[in-house]
């Protein structure tokens, strides 16, 4: 039985093409189509329902130590109101999930996790708890939308006091009002554009959604579905659990070493395994399709007759107009400019290794 987010009826009424995703019924696209939605986010603004995401809270004197035990990044490096991205590893150094961590104060943190992993993650977090900490899974009482694109700040400024808008990337403001509705607003997203994620209660999210769409009407804001969310994150070179990462892959093999703080006090789960497994022979690489067609996930990559890797995500890039893919690639063949071939259902398609991210917004 798939769950509905509080915005389900709104999506259906707006012509959203609703599909099951991670246990939820969510729009893959609206009548506008993935390409139009994608380009709205690149050029103007788009609004996504991301209420399916999971949220957990840690509070108490040992909250910090508990969070730092399960993530590889270090919340000691954050100021109050800062956010960090982090892998969450198992004892073998593979991914349980990836997440973003919000620091309210030294004794309170929120971790936002993938919907598809929520129950697994919550069980894992509970298993690791120690000391004086209160752990709560607030996923079912928390709704969330993502406002993304170059016009997103101007749209938010119509509804939120200037001082209540988080001005730094990966920062947030809690207990702020969006046209009277209490919200938490962070400058985060999964699109490679400037954008915000807005958390509120289930009963208020539809009002937030409608107010944003109304405020953004003159600034090109349109509702966007999961399809555009995936093509945008892929162009931005952002990894996705179940694609670039799973319980067998370590962050050091997919270019996420920056988010692994080996030296932090107290260590973290998976650290010993990461040390033991080094060095790694593969890396995460970007591929541009130079031949004809679209390369998707789980396609074998060849250098001549030699298998040198596997694609983990792939699509048609609406921004560039050609096929792009991310891959786990043998390091020897991962140099920028290397020409390779991918087996697409029995047909060899030419690709070239190019730099990640595929898309980077102008500063």
């Amino acid at each position: 039985m798939d769950l509905k987010t509080p915005l389900y009826d709104t999506h259906v009424a707006a012509g959203g093409k609703v599909v099951p995703f991670a246990g939820y019924l969510l729009p893959i696209q609206y009548a506008t189509g993935i390409i139009t939605e994608h380009m709205a986010v690149r050029k103007q603004a788009g609004l996504f329902d991301v209420s399916h995401m999971g949220e957990v809270l840690y509070s108490g004197p040992d909250a910090k130590a508990n969070v730092n035990k399960v993530i590889t990044n270090d919340v000691d490096l954050l100021e109050n109101g800062d956010i960090c991205y982090s892998p969450i590893l198992n004892h073998d150094g593979g991914f349980v999930d990836d997440c973003i961590v919000y620091k309210y104060n030294p004794d309170k943190y929120m971790i936002v996790i993938n919907a598809s992993n929520r129950h697994k993650d919550v069980a894992w977090f509970k298993e690791q708890l120690f000391g004086d900490v209160v752990f709560e899974d607030i996923s079912d009482i928390t709704a969330e939308v993502a406002l993304q694109g170059p016009n997103s700040t101007a749209i938010l400024e119509k509804l939120v006091a200037a001082t209540d808008i988080p001005r730094g990337y990966y920062t947030f403001k809690e207990n702020v009002l969006l046209d009277g509705i209490p919200c938490l607003i962070s400058q985060t997203g999964y699109t490679g554009e400037t954008g915000y994620e807005i958390y509120t209660s289930n009963d208020q999210i539809t009002a937030v959604w409608n107010k944003l769409l109304e405020a953004g009407k003159d600034l090109g804001l349109i509702p966007c579905g999961l399809g555009a969310r995936d093509t945008l994150r892929l162009e931005a070179g952002m990894p996705l659990y179940g694609h670039e990462m799973d319980d067998t892959v370590t962050p050091l093999e997919i270019g996420l070493g920056f988010f692994v703080k080996m030296e932090k006090d107290g260590g973290f789960i998976g650290k010993d395994a990461l040390i033991a497994k080094q060095p790694f022979n593969t890396k995460r690489a970007g591929l541009k399709v130079t031949g004809k067609g679209i390369v998707r996930e789980h396609a074998t990559i060849y250098a001549g007759d030699l298998e040198v890797g596997m694609t983990t995500s792939g699509t048609h890039s609406p921004y560039f107009g050609y096929g792009i893919a991310m891959a786990h690639l043998n390091k020897k063949f991962a140099k920028i400019g290397t020409a390779l071939e991918v087996d697409v259902r029995g047909r060899r398609v030419a690709v070239e290794v190019i730099k990640l991210p595929f898309y980077k917004k102008e500063q």
Binding site: I35, G293, T315, H316
Partner: protein
């Protein structure tokens, strides 16, 4: 949904336009393009290839997925609409002009739906 009266239809959402008794053009319907979403690549066969009933003769890629296109007739491909290679979006904007292939020497054909039957079939499909 646009369902022209002069065409024959299949339950796998191809349309067939007979040019004479043994020659036809084949494409995908308005319903199909709408279900598939923005189309970005078409993998076409070559002139001279055989096409057979219920056998895949081409595939189309939307942003999200690849879909096979099935032969509604058995025959020999006499022309391929190369315009689709450069402009796959024509399948979205003009599904009944954007033919895939022309088939000659047709020796067998499926039991087609007429426009009214196809329309009803799609409406039932949508209800699911």
């Amino acid at each position: 949904m646009n369902v022209p009266q002069n065409l024959h239809y299949t339950k796998s959402h191809e349309w067939v336009l007979f040019l004479d008794d043994t020659t036809a053009r084949i494409g995908i319907t308005d319903f199909a393009q709408h279900e598939l979403g923005d189309l970005v690549f078409v993998n076409l066969p070559q002139v001279g290839d055989k096409v057979e009933i219920d056998q895949v003769f081409a595939d189309v890629e939307s942003v999200k997925a690849v879909s096979d296109i099935y032969g509604p007739v058995t025959g020999e491909i006499s022309a391929v609409n190369d315009e689709l290679s450069d402009s796959p979006q024509l399948l979205n904007t003009q599904p009944y002009d954007a033919w895939f292939i022309e088939v000659k020497n047709i020796s067998d054909k499926m039991k087609f739906l007429n426009a009214a039957e196809y329309q009803q079939f799609c409406e039932e499909d949508e209800g699911h």
